[in-house]
Symmetry: C2
Amino acid sequence: VIGTVDDLVTRVLAGELRAVARLCRLIDDDHPWAPAAVKAIHPRCGKAHVIGITGNPGSGKSTLVDQLIVRYRARGLTVAVVAVDPSSPYSGGALLGDRIRMQQHALDEGVFVRSLATRGHLGGLSRSATALVHVFDAAGFDVVLVETVGVGQAEVEIVRTAHTSVVVLVPGLGDEVQVLKAGVMEIADIFGLNKADRVGHDRLRQEINALLALHHPEPDEWVPQMASTVATVGTGVDELLAAIDAHRAYLAEPGHERRLRVQQQRDEFWMLFTDLMRRRAEERFGGTGPDADLLAALDAGELDPLSAAEQAMMRLSGPATK
Amino acid sequence: VIGTVDDLVTRVLAGELRAVARLCRLIDDDHPWAPAAVKAIHPRCGKAHVIGITGNPGSGKSTLVDQLIVRYRARGLTVAVVAVDPSSPYSGGALLGDRIRMQQHALDEGVFVRSLATRGHLGGLSRSATALVHVFDAAGFDVVLVETVGVGQAEVEIVRTAHTSVVVLVPGLGDEVQVLKAGVMEIADIFGLNKADRVGHDRLRQEINALLALHHPEPDEWVPQMASTVATVGTGVDELLAAIDAHRAYLAEPGHERRLRVQQQRDEFWMLFTDLMRRRAEERFGGTGPDADLLAALDAGELDPLSAAEQAMMRLSGPATK
């Protein structure tokens, strides 16, 4: 039995897996203990290497994650995985169920996989994913892999919380500008060109090279690398890992890690602030809240959405100060 | 010369295309006139049929949009398109440039295409896309097509602003559960199964049928329909259009449209409120703001992100009321 937040935090910091799992559940459930615990573990965060892996459905990034786990374990490092699945009322995350790789690594105490299928508004997903990364970091995992499905803006936000971001692309989607459309150029430290045995791989590689050539990095800026892989058979995974290692070495140089950390802490601040404000507003303007009249006027067509939003801001925080 | 917001609004409501283009630019640029204009046109919104088209890069949804434009024009209806591209500092939206279909319809005054490649935080994209839909609606366009790339949560939010949502899927992505992973089951009124001449189409159709069978709709609830298309040659587009018409007829039944409108206005309220609060907070806590000390403490490691976010909320809106 875990009796208090302090007790839970102590056990998480000691790397007790049952306590880690418990705190993950509390975060999922939005339990009142969760914020206190996340604040308490903060001083112990910052040691893990957090690696984001993102790509379209069907890009094979789960298989790549598997391959990376195997290699990190061979190095004697522990690995946690945060897998972010968008919500669906049909699946609730459950139809996908436990993943095959979870079974593969199920008996290995050095691997911890946690799926997230948060329903509800946008902020919830980023908030939970970031909190889980902190938990695994504080619990002493050496590597935290954050796998996100899709290439939407929310997913991009989550990948931004990683130290090293791998964007997985595949040839033959019949759309040469997929990498542009994907809107992920700006977050890629490394491009994983998976299914490299397929027709179109060389062309995809050329396109990315052409795009990278358009970008003129600052003298001290990281230049994105590429690694071609066939994840199903393990081809190229060592090269991908070498690129990840190179990026980690880059971050270890003076100033780089700190600059990234300051930016990421600010991103996290804004994400959490937005989420807190929205919850507070829901208490106030929601169904039984003291200011429920505002949304009633909106529903009745007496107010347009923008005027209602402006009034809500006024009621919550007063007139603009400038 | 357009001298005042009132003048601009009058011209937009009269359907003057130059004024429409001007207001679109003001919205893009976040010009101070934009909120006033969006509020002023609100009473004239609600007549257009807003159709969201979403799908992965390479799904061929732009080609489908083209085909729909041609058919709506043949019916004598005017069409506006809001194409949402995720931001990229490499492209800034410019590399994609004017789209092929824009040229195809360039001489047709009954078609207006507007691309969005908003940079910056999440709220900006939804806010601009929604505002543009209102502008085209108020300007008298009969149909507004909202095309979004990708299937992320922000994109899902944008598609939710449509009356009728078409999710475009393609066979052969090598991942049978793509529709689950896509997290779009809940927003699809209609599934467009494009590239239906490809291997895997029957299987994809069966999978969607199986997923739909898991869902037991209420007596009065819309049951998602499927249309198989080969957009490049126009096969099945009439069936897709028939499904869109059927959904519009469903919305025209008593109560249905109002229920949707109330929900969408509330979604829009929350989106706008979140965005306004964040802008206000940026003025207050940003670089030269009166409360810049908070982020300085965060950067210096004296505060963790969650504690900083809690303090920011306190400073902006006082202690929690419950």
